[in-house]
């Protein structure tokens, strides 16, 4: 539509307001040679006028564009003749309204064009047109009013700079609160959906039950739909995969960090660090099919050749690959904290006749340990929340097992399977995803807070 033309006009009004406001200030001060008598630089008076002209009008425009359609449709429905709407269900009514709109804009219809339909479409077009015109009028009137207010306030002693700074700050506060409110909204929605879930399934069953079988019966006689929501197998599965991943990532990541920061010649470091960072840049879906198609079959064959029974989607395969994915995370965080250990501590140790490895073992690692622990905790929270690898390489069966060669499933995998495909949004099955998500969120949040706290405390020690 022509909303963007209105936007352009509004910009033009703002530009005009800028120049007028600036000019008024300069003239009020007694001409260009007298601008030093102004409280602020002339440009601030211009900006002040432009902001007054633009901001309220822009806000109104945004609101109007968001609401006009609904208003028009409401009016339209109220005006539809009785015989058209009589006996129509909510869904049919929606379809009818859609047809009217499509007819008005010349698109395809689901029914034939009847005279009544044509009349309604014309009515819709009229209402829409009316809405457009009132929007133009209202927005432009507001812009001019804003400009006029700013005009009235502009005089040489007016503190335009302070006002502009306050307004700019208000704009920034607005934007940052959008980010914060979005987060808050997501958390609250997850929380409320979880509460709905817990009103159907007791938290005790969810957190302590050992049977996970979320298929709820759609019909009373359906088979294989027990609807059990004991999440313990998911928690243990997540724990096992994450533990295997950390068993891979922590030693390799830590040792490579130590090697790179303490032993490696500078030229090797220049090559090795970017290579590790490339590892961090590989999309997790690539790791996922690597795990599912290469590592898992390999482990199975290896197991079979020594007479072990290995599931084709074993926790081991998923954990190993996830560990590889996390290596760069652990190594770069550890390297940062190791490098943050002051050189003077190394010198102090060497000067006592300690070797390099003694210095690393007894001085550098202990000094860097809090930071390393923080980094590892961050890595754990990544491992727990990691989804793609486990979706592809871990199984779906919620086995309660301690055997890494078995197939297990994780919280993230179950969230994915609960929500993919067509779902009813009020069944316990779907809502269970929110409860799982909330649990996941709580655990990773705690891990991150603890980790950041440890890292920050450690940083303070040497600054």
């Amino acid at each position: 539509m022509q909303d963007w033309i209105l936007l352009l006009v509004l910009l033009a009004v703002m530009t005009a307001a800028y120049h007028l406001g600036r000019r008024r200030a300069v003239i009020g001060a007694g001409g260009p040679s007298q601008v030093h008598r102004l409280h602020s630089l002339p440009a601030y008076y211009g900006l002040y006028a432009a902001l007054w002209a633009g901001l309220p009008a822009l806000l109104l425009l945004a609101l109007w564009v968001g609401l006009q359609d609904q208003l028009v449709l409401m009016l339209l429905q109220a005006q539809l003749p009785e015989e058209m709407t009589a006996g129509l269900s909510e869904g049919r009514l929606g379809l009818l309204v859609n047809d009217i709109r499509n007819l008005a804009s010349g698109a395809m219809l689901s029914t034939e064009i009847t005279p009544e339909l044509q009349a309604a479409a014309d009515q819709y077009a009229r209402l829409d047109q009316l809405g457009q015109w009132s929007m133009w009028t209202a927005v432009l009137a507001l812009a001019l009013t804003g400009g006029w207010v700013a005009w009235g306030r502009t005089h040489p002693g007016f503190k335009a700079r302070n006002q502009v700074e306050t307004m700019v700050m208000a704009i920034m506060v607005l934007f940052s609160s959008i980010a914060i409110l979005t987060t808050l909204g997501i958390v609250l929605s997850v929380l409320f959906e979880s509460l709905r879930f817990f009103s159907m399934v007791s938290p005790l069953e969810f957190f302590l039950g050992t049977l996970w079988s979320p298929q709820t019966a759609l019909r009373a006689d359906q088979v294989g739909a027990s609807g059990a929501f004991g999440a313990v197998p998911l928690f243990t599965g997540t724990l096992m995969v994450s533990a295997i991943a950390m068993l891979v990532a922590v030693p390799i990541g830590l040792l490579s960090a130590i090697y790179l920061s303490e032993y490696a010649p500078r030229r090797l470091r220049a090559v090795a660090k970017p290579v590790l960072e490339v590892l961090a840049g590989i999309p997790t879906v690539v790791y996922g099919f690597f795990a599912a198609l290469t590592v898992a079959p390999f482990i199975r064959e290896l197991g079979q050749s020594v007479g072990l029974d290995v599931a084709s989607e074993s926790a081991l395969a998923a954990g190993l690959v996830m560990g590889v994915m996390i290596i760069p995370f652990v190594s770069s965080l550890s390297e940062d904290v190791i490098n943050a250990v002051p050189q003077s501590l190394r010198d102090g140790s060497y000067a006592l006749g300690a070797t390099e490895s003694e210095t690393i073992k007894r001085v550098i690692i202990p000094a860097a340990l809090p930071g390393i622990v923080g980094g590892v905790l961050l890595a754990v929270s990544r491992a727990i929340g990691e989804t793609m690898i486990v979706v592809m390489a871990a199984g779906l069966a919620a086995n309660l097992t301690a055997n890494p060669l078995d197939s297990v499933t994780t919280v993230t995998v179950q969230i994915v399977t609960l929500l993919t495909g067509d779902q009813e949004f009020d069944s316990a099955k779907t809502l269970a995803a929110f409860a799982l998500g909330l649990t996941l969120f709580a655990v990773t949040l705690v891990l991150n807070v603890v980790a950041l706290h440890i890292v920050r405390k450690y940083r303070e020690q040497y600054d």
Binding site: P342, G348, A351, L352, G353, E358
Partner: protein, 273 residues
């Protein structure tokens, strides 16, 4: 500078004074140090006697720290640093290919400009060296060694009740004495100190200076200092460095009252540096 002075100051970079002492603990001859292509020390010869404090003074960047770091091969840890010439400890060439710098550093200890205790307890700071060198056989011996070292560093009475407290929690002067105790604990023959008081207040400085004087009974000490008063107070011999050259060396008294070289005199009287 007037042209006469210029000529005079340039006429000789040969060391004035007797750089050798009989029965020296450390003996350096024609030591040159390069950082990459840059020569930081130009053929310095200097002896460190037994039971003496030798102070090294000179303007910033003249190579005092560099020279000091040669004496326990701490320069080995700096990329691109090369040392030539001869440096002997009790007649043994320390830059010999066959010699391992690690045990050497236990024999020639070092105290740094900024106190650098390990982020461990006071006890562990002192026990660090004896532990890695296996100097004691059991906990009792180690306890005794920690105590004597702290006593020698004049810190025992202040910390004996809180040996488990972190060393980093001490005051600056106490930290520096802890570092000295840590060095003493491995029974070195020589202690090198690079401006050990420059980060300390006057009272802590006075305590350390007193300590240095006591330590002379058992160790040879080479100390770099920015303060000429300090050099005068603690040392028996003084060496004046200038742009990588050893200009003059002699009895501390004589250097401060009757310097022979023009550059030394300018520095002492505050006309330079």
């Amino acid at each position: 500078m007037r042209s006469g002075e210029l000529a005079r100051s340039q006429e000789s970079r040969e060391t004035v004074g007797d750089y050798s002492v009989p029965d020296a603990r450390m003996r350096c001859r024609d030591v040159e140090v390069w950082y990459g292509d840059k020569r930081a020390i130009h053929g310095v010869s200097l002896d460190l006697g037994r039971n003496e404090v030798l102070s090294m003074i000179g303007p910033s960047g003249c190579g005092k720290s560099t020279f000091l770091r040669c004496l326990n091969r701490m320069n080995d840890t700096i990329d691109g640093c090369r040392v030539s010439g001869s440096i002997q400890l009790d007649g043994e060439e320390i830059y010999d290919r066959a010699l391992d710098p690690v045990p050497l550093r236990a024999r020639v200890g070092m105290v740094f400009q900024k106190p650098n205790p390990f982020p461990k307890s006071i006890y562990e700071n002192v026990a660090y060296g004896p532990r890695i060198h296996g100097l004691t056989n059991n906990k009792t011996e180690l306890d005794a060694l920690v105590e004597t070292s702290l006593r020698k560093a004049g810190l025992w009475d202040e910390v004996k009740d809180r040996l488990d407290a972190p060393g980093t929690g001490l005051s600056g002067g106490q930290q520096q004495r802890l570092c000295i105790a840590r060095t003493i604990a491995v029974s070195p023959e020589v202690i090198l100190m690079d401006e050990p008081c420059s980060a300390l207040d006057p009272i802590a400085t006075a305590i350390i200076e007193e300590l240095i004087d006591e330590l002379r009974a058992n160790y040879s000490i080479a100390i770099v200092t920015h303060s000429m008063q300090q050099a005068a107070r603690v040392s028996q011999r003084t060496a004046y460095f200038h742009l990588g050259d050893l200009i003059e060396v002699g009895e501390t008294n004589q250097i401060f009252t009757n310097p022979q070289h023009r550059l030394t005199e300018d520095y002492i009287t505050g006309r330079f540096g």
